[in-house]
Amino acid sequence: MNKAVLIGLLAVSVAMGFTLWAFSSSMTPYVDIHQAEQMGERVQVRGKILHNTVRWSDRQHALIFMLQDKNNDQIEVVYHGAKPESFDTAPETAASGIVERGSSGTPIFVSDSMVVKCPSKYDDEKGLRHNIHAGTGAKV
């Protein structure tokens, strides 16, 4: 009986310890672009997507765009993977990755995971106004 409870407790504590370790190791710290360039380790950078710079690179098979953080620093992001849903309309993104140096020494943020901030559906009445007048929503 006592042995059984002991085994249970042991299992629970091992699992909890492991969970804590996994938890702390899966959280990537948020930093700004300047810090990311200094640190050289895996971080998350949050900022504005400069949409006119977004392009798909056939050569690198990557989505490339400029990211601007709250200090107005900019960095080129090379995102390896398919374009996330809602990326085109998202004002902001938080990308996880590492700063690397490009061929000319310019810093490049190489990212493999991106979290996209959705535009708020509820503040913007522009589209609704448009629909009232566009009638069936035909092309302008």
């Binding site: 996994a22 056939d58 374009k83 979290v115 106004r129 929503g137």
Partner: protein, 830 residues
């Protein structure tokens, strides 16, 4: 009466009838003399509440189906473009209010079942169940879906003629099946809660177990089915490359499932051995409460930042919650939590203290105890992980959610003891097991599993070899990040698969033995077989899937990935006959690819080659102006194309929007340029500063014919005629693709010209051409994934659901027999 008024009245009557029903049932405990009358009243008011819910649901469905745009809900959730009758109907539950209604609807339906079957429990169970309906109707009063558009948007000049539409990723047949299924499961969680609470009130810690057992199994099966459908939907439609991403919406349905599955196991122990009485009541309360936690989490997340797979990042400011029905969600969370836990603690000392662990380590009792423990551990880990953003935002810390790797890291090692338990439990007896008998029985399954392990190892090695030969190692990426050495990971995965096989095999052997004697008794064992199969499928498909991203260029010839050869065939879109330079904004855009599997001969021009097949990944661009989110940058959505084989899936999706390279010409006014066999004349620009810019062109064809065109760009306008600007203050411009008349190639595809830029000062024009004889070429970025053994995932879940349903039928049958038995004895004593 307008439908909106009817709906509003219905939710109000819903609240009142629910309260009255609750009072009548509650009073029937106090007033012994009028007990029967009060119960009848309770039933009548319950029926009224349920009827109100049905009416509320019906009116909302009516508003959405008939696109009554005077109501805001219809504007937000449907559109004229939505023509499919099923989707028009299913759009009812695409919004938050609609899904609350769906939850209320199933609660109301299930309430009638419980009422009929609850025997003496009726007046204790029903008050809890009806209170859920009351709360949900109150939420719908606070956050009404029946509000008029002009009331919600007072600044608007009129009622729109078009709605914002149903999110295209929801326009899928699963939308009509998945939400009703999963909400049936969610609603049924309240039954376990109500019975557990009723048991505490009635101090009946055994009787409730029999009554609740079939419902708990039903919840388990239906929620499992719902999770399966959600995963399949995500896999097939959303282009996630997977069926499970550990996002909060999925987790919010998964942790109640774990709690209710733990309950099922505790109830089983209670029925068989009379143990775990305290635990089973707590587990009964827990499932529903965790669902409330999950609902709050995902609902409050509807206004928040989302990750690439929709994972919740931050919860919206809490003051916004008080404005919406979510404040009542919080009340439910606290209310049911306090009532449930309070009742349990109040009665705890009275509940017979029984051994949870059994007396002997080598016994089924102890195995079940550990199983419940591990399920609760898993449940706790997932709940904590998903609620992290909630806690962080409470602490005003930057929002962070643990990545999927966190869940994998914890859940995969946890599956080791769980699979060992599942593999052993069929050969363990209740109370105590003779070690020699146990060893003898385990021998065959162990040996076979080791054989399976070697087979897997061989399979994996050959598959790896094959795949690594096909592609350069630098470009592959697995989804399970390399948190341990890949070679170690492979071996670990093979070992875990072996254990999964052991679990499936042991349970299948016992299921077969039981089935021959008593078919319905095999349910639980069959369910375990499914879990083993599912585990193997999940591990293999995730660990050994490989993705490669390529850009397929028109005219460059085929490309080979993972042994499959991909050849660009064409594009489809509207209008079908025309070459879709800028594909019309619709959901029919497809890239048509001809795929030649390994070993088959490369297909030539002839389409009839039986060995090759077509794959058509799709993309969707919403029409600008249809959706305010798409103003400016139309948001694209990619839908994969999947070729299913027995042993693997070939999963092809667009990695980015296909791009057309066209021939560029830069010209000043009154000048000309040579473009292949064509001569382009640029006569003059036409500029209307507030409306549009265009360039007047002439084009001399190789046949010396002159055709004219005036490609242009236009400004989007709002209702007052002002150009609509984007966030940076730039006007949003629509480049119109000008189809050049009288200039078709032999296949009827027209020539196209785009005015890409026009300098307002120098009037220099940048023009892009795609002309007969020199068409533009498509560049298609493709993400190609090879996924082995995915079918085991679907098969495993279906076996588990089937097994659970069989177990439910078994419990129903036993209850029926017992009832008949007790009636007989009652008759005799009378």
């Amino acid at each position: 009466m307008t439908p909106g008024a009817a709906g509003s009245i219905a939710v109000w009557t819903g609240v009142f009838a629910a309260v009255l029903s609750l009072l009548a049932y509650a009073l029937s405990h106090r007033m012994e003399a009028r007990k029967n009358l009060l119960i009848i009243l309770g039933r009548a008011f319950y029926a009224a509440a349920a009827l109100s819910v049905f009416t509320a649901m019906g009116t909302l469905a009516n508003i959405v189906y008939h696109r009554e745009y005077q109501y805001d809900y219809a504007v937000q959730h449907t559109s004229n473009e939505l023509y499919n009758h099923w989707f028009r109907f299913a759009a009812t539950w695409s919004g938050q209010e609609g899904s609350f209604l769906l939850w209320a609807f199933w609660t109301a339906v299930l309430g009638f079942v419980v009422m009929r079957r609850s025997r003496s429990y009726e007046n204790t169970v029903m008050p809890f169940l009806v209170s859920v309906i009351g709360f949900l109707c109150a939420i719908l009063i606070k956050q009404s879906p029946y509000l008029l558009f002009l009331k919600v948007h007072p600044g608007m000049p009129g009622i729109p003629q078009e709605g914002l539409g149903l999110n295209p990723s929801l326009q899928n047949y699963w939308m009509t099946i998945h939400p009703p299924t999963i909400f049936f499961g969610f609603a049924s969680l309240a039954i376990s809660f109500s019975y557990a609470a009723a048991a505490l009130i009635r101090r009946d810690y055994d009787g409730w177990a029999e009554l609740v057992f079939p419902y708990a199994l039903l919840t388990c099966a239906v929620l499992g089915l719902g999770l399966f459908m959600g995963g399949y939907w995500a896999y097939e439609t959303l282009g996630w490359h997977g069926f499970w991403a550990w996002d909060p919406v999925e987790n919010a349905s998964f942790f109640p499932w774990l709690a209710i599955t733990a309950l099922v196991h505790a109830l089983h122990v209670q029925k068989a051995r009379g143990n775990m009485k305290r635990s089973s009541i707590l587990l009964g309360l827990l499932g529903f409460w965790l669902f409330l936690v999950g609902t709050f989490l995902t609902r409050s997340g509807a206004l928040a930042s989302k990750g690439p797979n929709g994972q919740l990042l931050s919860v919206h400011a809490f003051d916004d919650i008080s404005k919406s029905g979510l404040v009542l969600m919080v009340a439910m969370l606290i209310g049911y939590g306090v009532v449930g836990l309070g009742l349990w603690l109040w009665r705890l000392r009275e509940i017979p203290k029984t051994s949870a662990t059994g007396d002997n380590l080598l016994s089924r009792d102890f195995a079940f105890f550990l199983a419940v423990l591990f399920m609760l551990l898993a449940c706790g880990v997932i709940t904590l992980g998903s609620t992290t953003p909630l806690f962080l935002s409470w602490l005003h810390r930057p929002p962070m959610a643990p990545q999927a790797s966190f869940y994998n890291k914890v859940m995969i090692p946890l599956m080791v003891p769980v699979t060992i338990l599942m593999g052993c439990v069929p050969w363990l007896a209740w109370r105590r097991t003779d070690p020699d008998t146990f060893r003898r029985k385990m021998l065959a399954p162990w040996l076979l599993s080791v054989l399976f392990g070697f087979f897997m190892l061989f399979q994996v090695q050959s598959a790896q070899h094959k795949l690594f030969n096909i592609m350069a190692p630098a470009v592959y990426q697995g989804t399970m990040h390399n948190w341990i050495n890949p070679a170690v990971q492979r071996v670990a995965i093979v070992l875990l698969c072996t254990l999964g096989f052991l679990a499936a095999l042991s349970n299948a052997m016992l299921a077969y033995r039981v089935f021959r004697k008593k078919p319905l008794g095999a349910g639980g064992w069959i369910a375990h077989v499914g879990i083993g199969v599912l585990l193997i499928g999940v591990l293999v498909s995730n660990t050994f899937e490989r993705t490669q991203i390529i850009t397929l260029k028109e005219g460059d010839g085929p490309r080979t990935v993972f042994g499959y050869t991909f050849q660009f065939v064409g594009m489809t879109g509207k209008p079908p006959a025309a070459r879709p330079i800028d594909p019309e904004y619709d959901a029919t855009n497809r890239v048509v690819l001809r795929v030649t599997p390994p070993g088959a001969s490369i297909a030539g021009e002839e389409q009839g080659d039986a060995q090759t097949f077509l794959m058509q990944p799709r993309w969707y661009v919403p029409r600008p102006g249809l959706n305010e989110e798409s103003m400016g940058n139309p948001d694209t959505m990619f839908w994969p194309s999947i070729m299913k084989y027995m042993g693997h899936d070939l999963y092809v999706a667009l990695a980015s929007q296909p791009a057309l390279s066209m021939y560029e010409v830069k010209l000043s006014p009154r000048s000309s340029a040579q473009l292949g066999p064509y001569t382009v004349f640029y006569y003059k620009p036409i500029i209307d500063p507030l409306n549009f810019m265009a360039a007047e062109l002439g084009l001399k064809t190789p046949q010396n014919k002159i055709v004219v065109a005036d490609p242009g760009m236009q400004w989007y306008k709002d209702g007052q005629g002002h150009p609509i600007t984007n966030d940076d203050g730039q006007p949003i411009i629509l480049k119109v693709n000008e189809t050049i008349p009288h200039l078709n190639d032999s296949q009827g595809r027209p020539g196209v010209v785009i005015l890409n830029a026009l300098n307002a000062g120098t009037h220099q024009a940048q023009l892009l051409f795609s002309l007969p004889g020199m068409p533009g070429t498509w560049n298609v970025p493709l993400s190609i994934t090879y996924k082995p053994w995915v079918n085991l995932v679907w098969l495993g879940v279906l076996i588990t659901v089937l097994g659970t349903l069989i177990a439910m039928m078994n419990r129903l049958r036993e209850n029926r027999l017992q009832e008949a038995g007790s009636r007989k004895t009652a008759h005799k004593t009378a």
